[in-house]
């Protein structure tokens, strides 16, 4: 059974249905179909234009079904389907069906209108008004009756007809599961490409900082060291030397502070271990850097695409940072499990729990990263703990 709001309204209350907008919308649906019948006929007459017209008709029909109370049919990606694609043949099949239904509804519409008009005329005739059509062979009372019946029945018949046509369109023009799968795969690829660009950008920033700023600061640190030697040689020991050395030390502290800050930033951008030795090594390094007991269990040592490793590392790093900052756990565990189709990263701790996305942007970033990898982030963190955060993503192909 295909769900149509029009049919639901009809079934809910057949009497009130007559006064709803659905009869009119169904009528409009059939009327537009009738209008499109002519070019469809022409397209079938000129064989070569069939795929183009069928596709155009399908695009229109996917939206038009709303008039019959259906939800709009999701389209496929843009462009004419190729000859090898089943969608093309289904679109042509729909055009063919459309031609038949169009003809049928056209005839029905004409006959019904004629009878209704005749009925009204009969009313006038019986009321003693001169018949505008001259002599009439039919019995006026019968004409009135049939006109009245058709007038009352038309909304129901029209709606049912629209329902059938809409159902047919839904069946033929909806993308099939396998086609959706293809779309999902290509979307996933696009996301990976986006992540790739993102990673490329981070890589550029990191390289600029390393080759530029860090290098200059390190060189100036070394020059300060040479300056210290010169001060010691040039100034005799005494207040003058002390004062000069004191100033030098102050500058040196600032310089080292700048380097420390910068190193933290650069490390946050892209840990070198991740690039050189992969996710497993980077996770182990991450665990060694936390101030509590942290264990790591990495299964399957194979490398994954860098954007994927990078995103998973980011998620692990955020989860670990959050745990240390908010949950004060005694023990933290990082686990990377892989199957043929899935990759699962789990960060668990025995801390206070209560982790949620309201706690700053870190958690949101984790969700986003997981979503970009076409996966999901599951956060299980009841108040009082323990906390378990799982990033479950499909294995990239």
């Amino acid at each position: 059974m295909y769900h149509s709001a029009a049919l639901t309204a009809l079934r809910d209350s057949p009497v009130r249905f007559w006064f709803t907008r659905w009869p009119w919308m169904s009528l409009a649906y059939l009327a537009i179909g009738g209008l499109l019948w002519v070019p469809t006929l022409l397209a079938f007459a000129l064989i070569g234009t069939i795929p183009y017209w069928a596709h155009a008709l399908a695009i229109a029909e996917r939206r038009l079904v709303r008039l019959a109370g259906y939800r709009p049919i999701p389209g496929r990606r843009r462009g004419l389907p190729g000859l090898q694609e089943p969608m093309l043949w289904r679109e042509i099949a729909f055009a063919l069906a459309h031609m038949l239904i169009g003809l049928f509804s056209f005839v029905l519409l004409v006959v019904a209108s004629a009878l209704v008009v005749a009925g009204f005329m009969a009313v006038f005739l019986m009321a003693g008004v001169d018949a505008p059509l001259g002599r009439n062979h039919a019995d006026p009372a019968l004409l009135v009756l049939s006109g009245a019946v058709i007038l009352i029945a038309a909304p129901y018949v029209g709606t049912l007809l629209a329902y059938v046509k809409g159902a047919l369109a839904t069946v033929l023009l909806s993308p099939r599961v396998e086609e959706l799968q293809t779309q999902v795969t290509s979307l996933a690829r696009a996301k990976i490409a986006e992540l790739d660009r993102f990673e490329g950008e981070r890589q550029r920033i990191e390289r600029d900082l390393h080759d530029g700023t860090q290098q200059h600061l390190a060189t100036s640190a070394m020059r300060l060291g040479m300056l210290e030697l010169e001060v010691r040689e040039s100034f005799p020991p005494g207040p003058a030397q002390d004062s000069a050395l004191e100033s030098l030390e102050a500058v040196r502290r600032e310089n080292e502070l700048a380097l420390d800050t910068l190193r933290d930033v650069v490390h946050g951008l892209r840990p070198r271990t991740l690039i050189d030795d992969g996710l497993g090594a980077a996770l182990r390094e991450l665990a060694r850097r936390v101030p509590i007991l942290a264990t790591v269990d990495v299964e399957g040592a194979g490398r994954l695409p860098l954007p994927v490793e990078s995103s998973l590392y980011y998620i692990a790093s955020e989860a670990v940072t959050n745990a240390i900052k908010h949950a004060t756990p005694d023990h933290l565990h990082i686990e990377l499990a892989q199957t043929a189709t899935r990759i699962m990263l789990t960060v668990s701790d025995d801390g206070l729990g209560g982790a949620n996305s309201a706690r700053g942007t870190g958690m949101v970033g984790m969700y986003e990263r997981a979503a970009l990898l076409s996966g999901e982030l599951i956060v299980d963190s009841p108040p009082g703990g323990p906390t378990r955060i799982v990033a479950d993503i499909p294995r990239p192909r």
Partner: protein, 230 residues
């Protein structure tokens, strides 16, 4: 090896200012810079040609601009175990340092090794001292790199070691192989292995933590060398 006097040093650093400054600094302290290389390949050639006492190298260098310098350092450590190696880096992670001191080189005592952040060069006196330690076969790891081990939930883990275990760990830190530790302590190699197992357990190091020997040594160094943790 005696290094109270002049050392013959090969340096490798792709940034010209840093390279020249480093050379000037070393010469000022009476050491001889036999070659200053601009990339990892040149470093390996220079080492083969000059057989220096100590090599000082940057991590990220041409030709690949990745960890070429570190790779060269590892190759030198494998090929010339007697050459001391100091790696200068901008990288805060401890994986490079761990690789560098991973396994003791063959022979009674591997050449010294060190991993320092680049700006340490500016603390001239400390830097020269580190170089002496490395030339003497010791190991120096930048406290900022291993700093987090110190604060890890087992700060007093070393206190739980027995005297014998401490001694074994000390010899491990000096780069001795199990066989040489055994010979030095007049015990069997099996006993040494057992001691090391106990050390790992007491320090809370699991097999999957990577190289436990390195981590144990890092922990030891961290506690044993407060003078460089300034």
């Amino acid at each position: 090896m005696s290094h109270n006097g002049t050392m013959r040093v090969v340096i490798a650093e792709d940034a010209a200012l840093m390279r020249e400054g480093l050379a000037a600094l070393l010469q000022r302290f009476g050491h001889q810079v036999v070659h200053a290389a601009e990339d990892a390949d040149e470093l390996l050639e220079a080492v083969a040609e000059h057989r220096p006492d100590v090599v000082i190298t940057d991590v990220r260098m041409p030709p690949r601009n990745l960890d070429d310098g570190l790779r060269a350092a590892l190759a030198i450590r494998a090929g010339h175990p007697d050459i001391g190696i100091l790696v200068l880096s901008q990288y805060l992670g401890d994986a490079y340092a761990a690789k560098l001191i991973a396994e003791p080189a063959n022979g009674p005592r591997g050449g010294g090794a060190g991993y320092l952040l680049k700006d340490r060069v500016g603390r001239v006196t400390d830097f020269m001292h580190s170089l002496d330690v490395i030339a003497g076969g010791g190991i120096v790891i930048d406290p900022k790199v291993v700093g987090h081990l110190m604060s890890s939930g087992r700060p007093h883990a070393l206190d739980t070691l027995s005297e014998r275990e401490r001694e074994v760990l000390g010899r491990m830190a000096a780069g001795e192989s199990n066989a040489h530790i055994a010979a030095g302590l007049h015990v069997t190699e099996g006993a040494v292995v057992k001691h090391i197992g106990n050390i790992f357990a007491k320090l809370g190091l699991q097999a999957q933590d990577g190289n436990r020997r390195v981590l144990a040594v890092l922990t030891y160094l961290q506690a044993a060398r407060p003078e460089i943790s300034r």
